[in-house]
């Protein structure tokens, strides 16, 4: 929310405005539909890289709607949006690093515990 100053306007008039919930239920429907699509793929498609890619893409779609609408990040100031999103890129870096170096790292860890 941009600020809290305007909330108090309602207090003075004593009236409670009508709820604005259209966008919330819309987001809910989207999340349900995407989950249903994921299930359809889980049962109608054989496991493989293509199916996993579809799953990951649909997960990112769901994550977007949760963060943007439910957590309200889409409506925050640009600076706040970037200060959350840019550090998250470090996770992608971790994934890429493990894809490249993962075999060596895995060997060392697993040999250590043997």
């Amino acid at each position: 929310m941009a600020s809290h100053s305007h909330h108090n306007e309602f207090e003075h008039t004593g009236e409670i405005p009508k709820p604005q919930t259209k966008i919330i239920w819309k987001t809910f429907v989207i999340l349900c539909v995407v989950t249903a699509i994921e299930f359809a793929f889980a049962f109608m498609m054989d496991a493989g890289t293509l199916r996993n890619t579809i799953f990951i893409l649909l997960t990112i779609v769901k994550a977007f709607y949760i963060v943007a609408e439910f957590m309200h990040l889409k409506h925050e100031v640009k600076g706040l949006i970037w200060s959350i999103l840019i550090p998250s890129v470090l996770l992608i870096w971790l994934l890429v690093a493990l894809l490249v170096e993962g075999t060596f790292y895995g060997e060392s860890v697993f040999n250590y515990f043997q």
Partner: protein, 257 residues
């Protein structure tokens, strides 16, 4: 506004802290950065899961290495290959022995998404200073959150106890269920990661429910109404949505992929 008497005028200059570049309160910003650090924790957990999974053969890969005559036609649990999640999580309370792959986890996902919706409705009611609605939606969120925890308790109990098929070891003995050392469903690491990842997420849900109960009591007592804003509901809401967000990823990487 119920404000205590200020003896000093606050400094309002740009470089005296008067500027608010993110247009968000200190508490909300810190909640965001806490959640960011929590995302790294869960990211590390799921990356570890990916690493452990890649170190093990899948069922198909393991079969391809065997001579033609010894290959299995149907999937079986074995410590030699990583289990297929659909085969592990196929039980539903009250339907013993029925194969309903992923049905129970689908129900849990729906409950958590619904709780996220009721949470955002509580936040929306807070913006309108509608105390009654905040109470109503917070109660629904507490209910759905507790339901999710109950489901997870059942899921864990079933996973730990196992079913009567069990797994036959090389020496002929049988093991049932899973713990941190043995695992009926596959390599012990699979059970370890199941306990760590869903357990860590469940602990987050439990903390969330405790926070929700606290802010519900405060709302009923009119603490936030006197304060003039329901920002605390917003902050706990951020945390609650994050827990839902983590579940979306756990669901994909643990149950679907």
């Amino acid at each position: 506004m119920s404000q205590t008497t200020t003896f000093e005028q606050p400094k309002t200059g740009t470089w005296d802290g008067g500027n608010e570049p993110f247009k968000a309160s200190y508490g909300k910003l810190m909640m965001w950065f806490f959640l960011l650090s929590d995302a790294f924790t869960f990211g590390a957990f799921l990356t570890t899961y990916g690493l452990a999974r890649h170190r093990h053969r899948s069922f198909e890969e393991a079969q391809a290495l065997l001579p033609e005559a010894q290959r299995l036609q149907e999937f079986e649990f074995s410590t030699q290959w990583w289990p297929i999640p659909e085969k592990v999580f196929n039980a539903f309370p009250g339907f013993h022995g029925v194969d309903w792959p992923l049905a129970f986890v689908a129900l849990m996902t729906m409950i958590l998404i619904l709780s996220s919706v009721t949470m955002v409705l509580a936040v929306e009611a807070g913006h309108r200073m509608d105390k009654k609605d905040v109470q109503k939606w917070l109660l629904w969120t507490i209910l759905f959150g507790s339901m999710f925890l109950g489901c997870q308790a059942w899921e864990w109990t079933h996973f730990i106890a196992g079913d009567e098929t069990g797994m036959t070891l090389a020496d002929g003995s049988k093991i049932y269920g899973a713990n941190l050392i043995v695992n009926q469903y596959g390599p012990p690491l699979f059970a370890d990661l199941f306990f760590f990842i869903t357990g860590f997420h469940g602990t987050h849900v439990l903390s969330g429910v405790v926070l929700l109960i606290l802010i519900f009591i405060n709302t009923v007592n009119g603490v936030y109404h006197r304060r003039g804003h329901y920002e605390m509901v917003e902050k706990v809401g951020l945390y609650w949505h994050f827990v839902d967000l983590v579940w979306v990823f756990v669901f994909t990487f643990f149950y679907l992929v």
